[in-house]
């Protein structure tokens, strides 16, 4: 049976297989995604980022658990989790350990957890993470949580991909200048101070609060709330979920939901265009010409910009 059709019917093995095909950027993977793309655009994408050890995985575990067992009156959502961990730059291997903290979710057919290695990509996500998210979206998951690599200062990619970005902090991880450097204000829709039972939580929250107060924003703009949580005990999770729902409502009311969708698709289009153009162009040029250009650089006869110019003008430096 056709892989795309099986996925739409809710076949988990087909979904798992297709995720691998897409992760490996195979022609089959592209074809499945091509068939399923019309079914995307419905899920709420929630990004979770922050420094290593702030408790991102435990928080994702608690959030997914609560979304699955909502208070009376609310519908449970199906949840997909994409957890990205770093690949070793030396061996290309990876140790993906996010599932350790997600034991509570085992046995729930409404949850699908997929671990991803970053495979050399910087910025906290893997190159194919957005395609993986699209597949989960098409498969009908209501909520997709994307947990980034614990990088700390370069998580712009996640803000571009997600509708709602949670930046997770913990007490005792550096002063307010660190927070400003990391550009949290620019990307955070919700600030989470996790491990809030630890000493120093007031200082952390005050530093974040004063940063927020300094930001110049129009009156109608979303002001990121600060939520205190203790993920290992489930404390503060209900408030955090309320904040996530509030943000979703804000996105719909302000029209930002469509805007973000457009921005995201534009970024993806540009990226794929760039990659495709480069790989097509590389096929038109011989390895010898390419090596000759590098030789000219090494001998300092051409600057990198001049070398590119001459390669593009017929490939004869």
């Amino acid at each position: 049976m056709d892989l795309a059709a099986s996925i739409l019917e809710g076949n988990r093995l087909a979904l798992a297989r297709a995720l691998s095909l897409i992760e490996n950027d195979t022609p089959d993977g592209r074809s499945v995604l091509g068939k399923l793309f019309p079914h995307t655009g419905r899920a709420h994408l929630i990004g979770i980022t922050g420094a290593p050890g702030t408790g991102k995985s435990s928080l994702v575990n608690q959030l997914a658990h609560s979304f699955r067992l909502p208070p009376v009156g609310a519908d449970p959502c199906t949840v997909a989790i994409v957890a990205v961990d770093p690949s070793s730059p030396f061996s290309g291997g990876a140790l993906l350990g996010d599932r350790i903290r997600m034991r509570d979710l085992a046995g729930d057919p409404g949850v699908f957890i997929r671990s991803m290695a970053s495979r050399g990509s910087l910025g906290g996500l893997a190159a194919t993470t957005s395609s993986i998210v699209q597949l989960f979206d098409a498969a009908g998951y209501d909520l997709i949580m994307i947990e980034t690599v614990g990088v700390g200062q370069a998580e712009v990619d996640i803000a571009r991909l997600a509708h709602t970005t949670l930046v997770v902090e913990a007490p005792g991880l550096g002063d307010d200048i660190q927070a400003i450097k990391a550009g949290i204000l620019e990307i955070a829709d919700i600030l989470v101070v996790n491990k809030a039972d630890r000493p120093g939580v007031e200082n952390t929250e005050r530093a974040l609060r004063s940063m927020l107060d300094l930001a110049q924003k129009p009156e109608t703009a979303w002001i990121p709330p600060i939520c205190r949580t203790v993920a290992t005990q489930g404390a503060g999770i209900a408030d955090l979920i309320a904040a996530i729902r509030q943000h979703r409502k804000h996105l719909h009311h302000s029209g930002e939901w469509q805007q973000r969708d457009r921005t995201r698709l534009r970024a993806e289009l540009e990226l794929i265009l760039r990659e495709t153009l480069v790989s097509r162009w590389r096929q038109t040029i011989t390895e010898a010409d390419f090596q000759r250009a590098i030789n000219h650089l090494v001998e300092r006869r051409l600057s990198p910009h001049q070398a590119v110019e001459s390669l593009l003008n017929g490939g004869k430096p």
Binding site: L13, A16, S20, S88, G93, R103, G107
Partner: protein, 135 residues
Amino acid sequence: MSERKIRVIVAKPGLDGHDRGAKVVARALRDAGMEVIYTGLRQTPEMIAEAALQEDVDAVGLSIHSGAHMALIPPILELLKANGQEHVKVFVGGIIPDEDIHSLLEIGVAGVYGPGSKTETIIQDIRTAVLGSTT
């Protein structure tokens, strides 16, 4: 298109807490270029099979020091098969008596590794089993 990455789950089914061996093997497989999903302690057969499905792994590595291997491993093999993942290779490490090793290999376990096993052997065996089966 990127090269084929071998994906492996390393899990500890059952109740013993001795995870040093599992961590050493997980680290060695990572250093050999594999993507290792480490799921931690006290996993039930159902949890392991579910993780194997969601992660679409090529192999499952089980570390057992409790003596409960004959109770834990057959259900894992059955669940993998029931989920349509009979192609997934299962490797076992830990304290396993000789007579049980034979029974395990007979029911479909791809390899059993006792104390003193070399990580190079395990890496090579996984590569052969996985890449040999997909060509």
